[in-house]
């Protein structure tokens, strides 16, 4: 089990317990966390599950692969800590993960 905190643009925090193996996007959608549209359902094809990974968690979550980096071109307000949450797999090591949800996905 890994506890993930989603921080809304207004500062509200949604805390979710996620099973390893699912993605950070799936954990959000399953728990009705606002702001993760995930239109394509996790196919890395729409860039509507964009999140900002808090600094302390950038190393454990890793770097985007080529496909994800390409798809980030279709998201807005991209920063160095931008990720598509459908491409972050939940592991025990990510217990405590904190991600910020952008103002708007599009």
């Amino acid at each position: 089990m890994a506890r993930i905190t989603y921080i809304q643009p207004d500062g509200t925090e949604n805390v979710v317990d996620a099973d390893p193996g699912m993605t950070v996007m799936e954990a959000a959608v399953k728990n009705s966390v606002r702001g993760i549209a995930a239109e394509c359902g996790g196919a890395c094809a729409c860039a509507t599950c964009h999140v900002y990974v808090e600094d302390a968690w950038r190393e454990p979550t890793g770097q985007p692969e080529q496909m994800e980096e390409d798809m980030l071109d279709f998201a807005f307000d991209i920063r160095p800590e931008s990720r598509l949450s459908c491409q972050i797999k939940v592991t025990e090591e990510l217990d405590g993960l904190r991600v910020r949800i952008p103002e708007k996905q599009f």
Binding site: E39, C40, A43, A45, C46, A47, T48, E69, D70, D73, F74, A75, F76, D77, I78, E103, K104, F106
Partner: protein, 342 residues
């Protein structure tokens, strides 16, 4: 200009897997169909979002990609000769004495007895960058597609994005524009390498500019853009002047004009009954992801089932005097004849 009105039994809105299979089920009961889709090819989400991604829950196909499924469905429905109208969106739907009158955004008009809405998550429309006040510029100096090149003649054009659309329009508009600037967040592009090279050649020759950054603010008055604020890769901002801006950030799904057709809606879905999959309006059916009913699952296989039951009711409307006898394709020589296998 609109040519003459196309007359047919059924108009299917949406050429995703469920819309395509509706052609099959309607064909078996002798209902002729025209299919309309906003995309330029069949497949809907399967073609646009995951053509190469595997799907594992289509019965009898342990694994199939979105494109393969689309191709197989196109093959399966071929005997029924449905006509396709791609890159068009149905704008208006009105009831007439004989059925319905539909007109698309390309002014194609249809008269039909029934309408089958198989529009999935809605029609694919360009993503609107979440920039404050952008709506005020849309159609006058912010465009998401190019319909007439003349609009960009002698203008300072700003194209934003790094995909094929951004690159293609950079190359196509550069000769007509007064100046052309391509803005992208990084120096890599997910576009055809040949287009990228041509763009770089233009920049090299001073015929176009390429800048790194992301738009954060729009400036202008009364819908007329004068420039934008850009945040560069180092975090510093700069001003970029522009008369027109073309943002290319891919597509998203919007319900679109369906919302204006007088149908009951529940959270952007169309409620239907589970016997006929008919909407609140007699003769208008909704199948696949766009409908809702108790227990609804958004699965391709559910849409296929819905198409089969819908076709039974459509037969009654199109052929009020004929009784439909249920038959299997395996054993019915009548159905096999329609399929062209006998």
């Amino acid at each position: 200009m609109s040519a003459e009105v196309i007359k047919t039994d059924a108009v299917i809105i949406g050429a995703g897997p469920v819309g395509l299979f509706a052609v099959f089920e309607l064909g078996l009961v002798d209902v002729k169909a025209h299919v309309i889709d906003i995309l330029d090819r069949p497949g809907g989400q399967c073609a646009e979002l995951y053509p190469e991604k595997p799907i594992y829950d289509v019965p009898a196909l342990p694994v199939v990609t979105g494109q393969e499924l689309t191709d197989k469905l196109m093959e399966q429905i071929k005997p029924f000769g449905a006509e396709f109208h791609f890159s068009e969106r149905v704008e208006t739907l009105e009831r007439t004495d004989e059925g319905f009158h539909l007109v698309t955004d390309a002014d194609t008009a249809f008269e039909c007895k029934v309408v089958v809405i198989a529009a999935g998550g809605g029609s694919f429309t360009p993503k609107r960058p979440p920039l404050p006040g952008i709506e005020a510029y849309e159609g006058t100096s912010v465009y998401y597609s190019v319909r007439k090149m003349d609009v960009f003649k002698d203008k300072d054009v700003l194209i934003v994005g790094g995909g094929d659309s951004a690159l293609d329009w950079t190359l196509n508009l550069q000769p007509v524009a007064k100046s052309l600037t391509l803005l992208h967040r990084r120096s890599e592009f997910r576009a055809a390498p040949a287009s990228v090279q041509k763009m770089l050649d233009l920049v090299e020759n001073g015929d176009a500019a390429f800048k790194l950054g992301q738009v954060t603010e729009l400036h202008g008055d009364d819908g007329q853009l004068t420039g934008v604020t850009v945040k560069g890769p180092d975090g510093a901002t700069f001003e970029q002047s522009a008369d027109v801006m073309l943002p290319f950030f891919g597509l998203t799904m919007k319900l679109g004009p369906v919302a204006d057709w007088g149908l009951n809606l529940e959270e952007n879905l169309i409620p239907v009954d589970t016997e006929k999959f008919e909407t609140s309006e007699t003769g208008i059916f909704a199948i696949g992801d766009i409908n809702t009913y108790p227990g609804k699952l958004k699965l391709i296989l559910s849409g296929f089932h819905e198409a089969a039951l819908m076709a039974q009711q459509v037969h009654k409307i199109v052929y009020p005097d004929k009784k439909l006898i249920f038959q299997y394709t395996t054993s019915s020589s009548n159905l096999q004849k329609k399929l062209g296998v006998k």
